[in-house]
């Protein structure tokens, strides 16, 4: 069970989500150039990369609270995919990077990645 639910932000994050699956492929190249391949695992876990701009101070508080609660990547987050509405249990891959927007110091952008548990 997840430790926290991903917060609802003032801006939707569905515009800039990049999704990538873990690659379980084991490859071994033979002398004649052909390649032998196998899978290493049975399940393909996904990672989602986000870059959200123009977040308000309240949004930053919510995201900060989330990563403080989960101790960055130690705990898990219940996150609903904005397009498919599928609920995933995920964790932060690394600390969230906040940056003040250059054209409005009251707003910030956030960059982070979520990986499926």
């Amino acid at each position: 069970m997840a430790d926290v639910t991903f917060p609802t932000l003032s801006r939707g994050i569905n515009l800039d989500v990049r999704e990538v699956s873990a690659n379980p492929t084991i490859r071994s190249e033979m002398e004649n150039g052909s390649v032998i391949t196998r899978a290493r695992f049975t399940r393909l876990r996904k990672t989602w990369n986000f870059s959200i701009g123009f977040l308000t101070a309240a949004d930053k508080v919510l995201l900060d609270a989330m990563q403080n609660t989960t101790h960055i990547g130690a705990g898990t987050i219940s996150w609903t995919h904005p397009k498919t509405s599928v609920v995933y249990e995920v964790r932060l891959l690394s600390p969230i990077t906040f940056q003040v927007e250059s054209d409005n110091s009251n707003l910030q952008s956030a960059v982070f990645s979520l990986e499926e548990v």
Binding site: P24, S34, I36, R38, A39, T42
Partner: protein, 206 residues
């Protein structure tokens, strides 16, 4: 030469396959507790038993020309400290039995008896990330000689306060001096492992 079933040979010889070969561990601790792990990212069911996905690594077999018994290093993730209480209780898990089985995820009903190895834990090292076990076989040159020692007023049974083993004590006291007097104090003299009929001085090898 190993004799595998036709399905396994076919799967083994494929140039490409989406079904991974997985390592299964059946770890049987001295108290018969069994842990079943698979080095996968989801649990699998094999022979009616659920193998929990858990990080572990098996190193290559170590052999030498000195006549040492070959060893294999098994590293099990220790971040969750799941094995720590058992390691503390059972002297690092020494003499635990580890069954290693290689299976294909798509052919779990096949016979894998040729791809099994049963080894014994002969050494243990622990840090915050890994429990590192050396797996090997019983070494006869390390056997104690003389095999049995009969002492007059010393109980040679390992002390546990949980009722297991030859000691059999099950109570609140946590220490034992292995003497008859202390055994009486524990109320466990019926299981005293010393030999009171022997003389207290000198030794004799028979």
């Amino acid at each position: 030469m190993k004799s595998l079933s036709a399905n396994l040979v076919q799967e083994k010889n494929k140039q490409h396959s989406t079904y991974p070969w997985l390592l299964l561990l059946d770890i049987t601790l001295p108290d018969s507790t069994i842990f079943r792990f698979v080095n996968n990212n989801e649990d699998i069911v094999y022979k009616g038993n659920t193998y929990t996905c858990f990080p572990f690594e098996i190193g290559p077999q170590e052999s030498s020309v000195d006549g040492e018994i070959p060893k294999i290093e098994l590293k099990i993730c220790n971040i969750t400290r799941i094995l720590t209480p058992y390691l503390n209780t059972y002297n690092g898990g020494l003499e635990s039995e580890v069954l290693i089985t290689v299976v294909n995820s798509n052919l779990l009903a096949e016979d894998y008896s040729e791809l099994e190895a049963t080894l014994t834990v002969i050494d243990c090292q622990v840090d915050e990330y890994w429990v590192s076990w050396s797996l090997g076989l019983f070494n006869p040159t390390m056997q104690r000689f003389p095999l049995y020692r009969y002492l007059a007023n010393y109980c040679s049974y390992p002390f546990f306060n949980t009722g297991i083993g030859e000691c059999g004590y099950n109570g609140a006291l946590t220490t034992c001096l292995h003497t008859l007097a202390d055994c009486i104090a524990h109320g466990n003299e019926i299981n005293f492992g010393g030999n009171l009929g022997l003389q207290n001085d000198g030794i004799r090898v028979v």
